[in-house]
Symmetry: C2
Subunit: 513 residues, 2 copies
C-alpha cells in the first residue's frame, strides 16, 4: 500500500497553500510598504487570488481526493494507530471545511463580499463623523446575510455558534456562559476596589522612534529570534503573519505619547509568531494540512498574551529591563518604576488600550451584544443605548459619542461575529497554562517558588518557550482548544486561574504604591 491518493491530496493542499501564502504576502506588503495609491490594483490582485483559491477549495477534484483518501485510509494496513488517527483527523477537518464552502450558494457569497466592503467603508465614515446612523443600515444588512449564512450551513448549532466555529471550533453559548459568568460576577467588583488607589501615569514624557526600535530589537534578540526565518516591519496596526514554513513576519508601530505601546505590541505579536513557528511541520502534516494549523483564535491569543502579560509585563522582567529603558531616556530609576508604568490599571472606554483587569469587561459587553443582535432580536438602532448602558453599569464610564462607543472596533463592520470571545478566552487559557507550566517546571527540578519568574530573572525565556513548544504548539489542530487545555493542565478550562492571577497582581500593584 503506497498511500497514492494521500500523496496526491497532499500535493493538492500544498498548491492551495502556496496560493494562500501568496495572498498573505500581498497582504503583508500592502500593510507595510505599499504606497497608498496602489490600493485599487492591489485589491484586484487579491480578488483574483481569492477567486483562484475558492475554486481550488470547492473543486470536484478536491472533493474526490478527500473521499478517495478516506477509502484508501480504511484499507491501510501498514500504518500505526497514531498515524491512522492523525490522518483521520486531517480528513475529517478537510471534509468539514469543504462542506461549509459547498453549502453556501454563490449568490450569498457575492452578497456577503459586497456587504463587507460596503460595511467597512460606511463604518470608517461613521466613526470619523461620530455618526452611528450612517452605519446602522449596513450593519443590519450584514446581520441578515450572516443569519442566512448560518441557515445555509445548517449545523446543529445556534446562529451565533455557527458563525463562531471558524474561530473557536466546538464552542457553544452554554459553555461560554459557564466560563464567563464568574467573570461577570467578579470583574466589576475588582474594578471597583481598584478605583480608590491612585495610579502612576506615564503621561508627560515619550521615547523617540529610534529608542523604541532599539528596545524592540533588544527584546527579540533576548527572546532568541532567528533572523533567518523572521522579519520585522512597521504597519499602522501591529500584526503577525506566516508566509511560508520558514517565513514569519511581524509588525509593530510607534504611537505618539505612548512610550510602551510599540514594545508591548512587539512582545504580543512575537507570541503569536512563536505559536506559528512551533506548529507541527513534519513532512506529511506540513503547512497545507489542517493539523499543521493553529487550533483556535483563543489558543493563538493565549500565546501572545503569555509573552506580553506574563513575561514582558512581569516584575522580574522589569527588574531586568529597566536599565535599557533608562538608557533610552525613560524616567525610571529601578525595576519597580518600570513595572508600575507597564501596568496601569485605569478602566476606560477603549478595548485595545484596556488594562488586564478591565479588558474582560469590554469583551463581555461585546459578546452579549452580538449574541443579542444575531439571536435575540436586538434592533441595530438600539445598539448605542444598550452599549452605553452596559459600559456605565460594568465599568462606570460613558462614551461621549458612538465613535468611542459601539463604533470603536472594526469587527462587526466586516461581518465578523463570534470573534470577540476569543480574546477573553485567550486570557483564561494563558492563565491556566501558566499555572500548569509553573507546576511542571517545579517537578522538573526548578527549586524556586516562582519558576516562571526565575526563568525571566535569568534571561532564560528559552525554557518557557521549550515548554510551550512541547506542550501546546506541537498539537496543531489535533485537538480543539478545550481538549488542549485539559490535556496540558489536567483540568477543564475555567476562569479560576485568570481570576487568581488578577487578584494577586492587583494586590501586588496596590501594595507597591
Amino acid at each position: 500500500m503506497t498511500s497514492t491518493i494521500w500523496l496526491r491530496l497532499g500535493k493538492y493542499l500544498r498548491d492551495t497553500q502556496l496560493l494562500g501564502s501568496i495572498h498573505s504576502t500581498l497582504y503583508w506588503d500592502q500593510n507595510t510598504v505599499m504606497p497608498s495609491g496602489a490600493s485599487s490594483w492591489r485589491g484586484e490582485q487579491l480578488s483574483l487570488l481569492a477567486k483562484l483559491l475558492h475554486s481550488r477549495q470547492t473543486s470536484h477534484e478536491f472533493e474526490d481526493l478527500i473521499i478517495e483518501a478516506s477509502t484508501e485510509l480504511e484499507e491501510e494496513t501498514f500504518l500505526d494507530i497514531t498515524e491512522i488517527s492523525e490522518r483521520k483527523r486531517n480528513l475529517d477537518l478537510l471534509q468539514l471545511e469543504f462542506n461549509r464552502q459547498k453549502r453556501l450558494d454563490s449568490k450569498l457569497v457575492v452578497d456577503l463580499t459586497t456587504a463587507k466592503t460596503n460595511g467597512y467603508a460606511l463604518w470608517q465614515e461613521a466613526k470619523l463623523n461620530k455618526d452611528y446612523e450612517r452605519f446602522a443600515p449596513a450593519l443590519k444588512k450584514l446581520i441578515e446575510l450572516r443569519q442566512e449564512q448560518a441557515r445555509q450551513l445548517d449545523e446543529p448549532r445556534s446562529c451565533w455558534e455557527t458563525l463562531a466555529q471558524p474561530f473557536e471550533p466546538d464552542l457553544t453559548i452554554k459553555r461560554l456562559n459557564e466560563l464567563f459568568n464568574p467573570l461577570r460576577d467578579s470583574l466589576p467588583s475588582l474594578i471597583n476596589e481598584l478605583k480608590p488607589c491612585s495610579q502612576m501615569k506615564s503621561g508627560g514624557w515619550d521615547l523617540d522612534k529610534r529608542s523604541q526600535h532599539n528596545l524592540c530589537e533588544r527584546l527579540l534578540n533576548e527572546w532568541g529570534r532567528d533572523e533567518n526565518i523572521t522579519s520585522l516591519g512597521r504597519s499602522p496596526h501591529p500584526f503577525s503573519i506566516t508566509l511560508g514554513p520558514r517565513d514569519f513576519r511581524l509588525t509593530s508601530r510607534v504611537v505618539k505619547g505612548q512610550p510602551f505601546s510599540c514594545f508591548l505590541a512587539t512582545a504580543h505579536e512575537w507570541g503569536h509568531s512563536l505559536y506559528e513557528q512551533g506548529l507541527p511541520s513534519q513532512s506529511h502534516q506540513w503547512f497545507g494540512w489542517p493539523l499543521g494549523q493553529a487550533t483556535s483564535m483563543a489558543v493563538h491569543e493565549s500565546q501572545s498574551l503569555f509573552w506580553e502579560n506574563r513575561v514582558a509585563r512581569s516584575r522580574d522582567f522589569s527588574n531586568r529591563f529597566w536599565k535599557y529603558f533608562a538608557y533610552e531616556g525613560a524616567p525610571v530609576g529601578n525595576g519597580l518604576d518600570l513595572w508600575r508604568l507597564l501596568n496601569p490599571l485605569v478602566p476606560g472606554l477603549n478595548r485595545v488600550e484596556a488594562d488586564e483587569l478591565s479588558y474582560g469587561v469590554h469583551i463581555l459587553i461585546r459578546t452579549d451584544l452580538e449574541i443579542a443582535l444575531l439571536e435575540e432580536d436586538l434592533d441595530v438602532w438600539d445598539l448605542p443605548n444598550e452599549w452605553n448602558k452596559r459600559y456605565k453599569e460594568l465599568l462606570g464610564v460613558t462614551p461621549s459619542n458612538d465613535a468611542e462607543g459601539c463604533l470603536q472596533d472594526v469587527h462587526w463592520s466586516e461581518g465578523a461575529f463570534g470573534y470577540f470571545p476569543s480574546y477573553l478566552l485567550g486570557h483564561l487559557i494563558s492563565a491556566q497554562l501558566s499555572e500548569a507550566m509553573a507546576i511542571s517546571l517545579k517537578s522538573e527540578g526548578t527549586t524556586s517558588e516562582d519558576p516562571l519568574g526565575q526563568c525571566i530573572r535569568d534571561g532564560n525565556e528559552a525554557k518557557l518557550l521549550k515548554w510551550l513548544r512541547k506542550k501546546v504548539h506541537v498539537y496543531g489542530r489535533k485537538v480543539n482548544a478545550e481538549k488542549l487545555v485539559k490535556e496540558v493542565t489536567g483540568k477543564a478550562l475555567s476562569s479560576h486561574a485568570f481570576l487568581n492571577y488578577l487578584e494577586k497582581k492587583l494586590e501586588m500593584l496596590t501594595s507597591s504604591s
Copy 2:
C-alpha cells in the same frame, strides 16, 4: 460596432498582468525584506505563478482572442486612423510574442529552466573559488540550449540576433557594428589620453548609512517624488520595479567605503522608474497591453543614465548639492570638489564600477565575445584567454583571476545573451536625446547656452522630466528604440552625441584638475 472581442482581450490581458504583477511583488519582497530561510518556499510560489502565467500566455483562448480581435478590427468603421494603427500595433506585438512562446517545445523550456538554475549555482561557486573550470561545462550547455531555442524560433535572423530581440526589438549585428565601431576606434585612445592626468580619489573616508539615506531622500524629494505611488527599499543589488499602474518601487543600498554608491544608484533607479511612470496609461492601453510597456532595454537604460550621469553627475548639480554632502560629513568645500569626486576617470577591471569613459569598452568586449560564443565557434574553454587579451589591449588592465575577469557578471550564467549591448546603446541614446532636449528647450525660450544646466541650477528638473514624458515616455512600444530616437531627435541613432559628450567632459575634468 462595440469592439466586443477587443474588450474581452483587454480583460484577458489585464488578468494576465495581475498575475504577472503578483509575481513581481513576490520578487520585490524576496529582495528587500524576506528572511533568507524562506527562499525555498518562495521559489515554489514563484514557480507556481510562472506556470499559471505561461499557461495563460499560450492558451487557445488567448490565441483565438488575438485572431478574432484582428478580424474585428478589420471590420471596424468607427475608429480614427490613429486608434486603428495603435490597435493594430498592439495586436501585432501580441501575435509576435504568442508565436515565440508557441514555437518552443516544452522539453526545451524545461531543460532551459534547469540549465539556468544549474548555471547560476555553478557560476556562484566558480566565482567564489576563482575557478572558471567549474562553470565552463554549464556555460557550454546553456549556449547549446539557447542555440537550439533560436533554431526553434526560426526567425529570419542570426542566432545572437534572435536571442537579443526581447531586449532590443529589430536589432541586427550589422546595425550594432555601425553604432559601435566608432566607439571601438575612439574609446581606447581617449582612455590613453587620460592616463597621465592624476585623479582625485574618494578613498580614505566614508559616509554613514543615515547620512547616505538622508541624501537619497533629499534627492528624490527635490526630483519631485510622489510618495503616494512610490516606495523605497533596500536590497543587495539596486533595482526598480513596477508592481501596479500606481505602484512604483525602487531600491538602493549602502556600500562600505563607497560614499556615493547609494546616492548614484538611487538616481539611476529613479530614472528607470520615471520611464515606467510615464508610460501611456490610457484606459485601453493600460498596463496589460504592449503599448503600455517599455520599448527596449536600451531606452530604459537611457532614462536611468540621463538622471544619473546628465543630472546627478553634472557640474551644476554638484554646485547645488555640495553643501548637503558637506553637512553630512563629506570632505568637500565647494561644487568642484564634489563634482570631481562624483566623476573619477580610472579604467579598471569592473564593469559596474566603471567610469563613463571606460564603461563602453567593457560592453564592447562582452558583446564581441558573446557573439563569438554563439555564432563563431569560440570554445568556452578559450573564453578566459580571449577575455584577458582584450582587456589588456583595450583598457590596459589584466584580471588577476577569472572572478575579476570573465566570471564577473551574472548574465551568461542565467543564459542571458544579447543583453549587454543595451547598456551601451543606452549611453548613446541618452546622449542623443540630451542634445535634442537642449535644442528643444532653447527653441521654447530658454535663453541659456546650456539649458539643461540652467534647469539643474534652478532646481527645475521638473522641466527636464516634462520633456522626457512628452517626447519619450509616452510612446511605450508604439515604435522601437531606433525609430523613437529618429522621431525625437530628427536624426538616426549614432555614437556622435555620446563621443562629443565624453570629449567635452574629459576636457572639463582635466582642465579643472
